[in-house]
Amino acid sequence: MTTRKMLLIDTSLCTGCKACSVACKAWNELPAEKTQLVTGYQSQKGTTPNTWTYVSFHEKYENGKMHWLMLKLQCLHCAEPSCMKACSSKAIYQTESGYTLIDHEKCIGCGYCVTNCPWGIPQVDKAKNKAYKCTGCIDRVENGLLPACAHTCQTGAVQFGEHDAMMEKAEARLAEVKKTYPKANLYGDQLMGGTTYIYLLTDEAEAYGLPANPSMPISLSLWKDIIHPVGGIAVGAVAAAVGLGVLANAARGNYRRRVADNAEAGSHVDSYGGE
């Protein structure tokens, strides 16, 4: 029986070397993209179909002390993923190890996952019409190897293991880090049903450019759990209820490619939750 895993990103140990980003590309055979410096040492603006993890840099100078915050960002692999709920083609599924994955045979590149992810992680490759994001290196993990990012990380900022053991480790480490950084907190374990990739932050989430309280968009809940299961699609009728995100998608014409029935995927989320 596969057990739930956890990947802990301990930002207090991260030196922003970006080896995780390169190792991810090397394993997944993702091409380099043309970049320029965004701010400070950050060159990658966000995830793309070919960049599944990157490091953002945040400088904070307070009371004569410098805090240089570095954040490796990638899919957090939520227990209750809004991308999966939003997926129009049942392409997004979860594994018992706690990963949220995209089946590219089913993905039609509608972009609902992009719009509905609180962190903006999945990205659609326009040429291939498929959405891409971190796979958790499921192929490595299922074959007994560490995810590429965890395997390469030299500082110990990215650690991988069994969920419960890692959670214990994270709590212990938090207690230690709080002595130096009183605002330190764990980020992810209480969000979106509990994410599989969680963070130890040394400062408030906002200082890292993270949303403090990400949640399933209300529009999405309405759409998937209330309106859609009841009946067919009438875009005009539901538009008022589902809010701006969906409107935006409608405007872009994404809905035209939506596959009819998503109810099963929705129920899957529920059956998975709480494990």
Partner: protein, 196 residues
Amino acid sequence: MMVDRRGFLKLSGLSIAALATGLGLDLEAAEAQGYALKLSGCTKIPSICHFCSGGCGMLLYIKEGKLIHLEGDPDNPTNEGTLCPKAASLASVAYSPDRPQQPMYRAPGADEWQNISWDEAMERIARKAKEVRDKTFKLTEEVIDAKTGAKETVTVNRAEGIAFIGSAEVDNEESYLITKLSRLIGSPYHEHQARI
């Protein structure tokens, strides 16, 4: 790695204990679990990183003479499988289209290289080395003794016109042969990156 959810459930038996053994893992057996692993069937050959002086171990996964993947060597006690971004990128050097294909010669005043054979390259280099060595060779020189002030003729066997640069970027055996070659042909004028 295209596996559907049902497929995934079938192959979920693999124990995390395999992680503890690093790569002491039977990749063929692992693949039989269902998730295709591109490393299956590869030979693992350890190497050493080519950047800072950490000497981190790298593992190259080779199949039919081709490099399939490169990552940190978990058995190397210095890095235990970890690699910095530079080392993690090194697979891309093997088949880089930007590596020159063969020896090249650039004639005086020319604005392009021309490809030449190794034989021609060696011939040109050796002939030039002999020419410069013969032209600039100092068999002896007069030396004034710092203490006594006496003049003395000393055998110095020096080829004044030849200099060597490098290298901290090559293996010990190569680095040693640069030293040996330069001194044997008469040049003490040999320096490299350690100086700067």
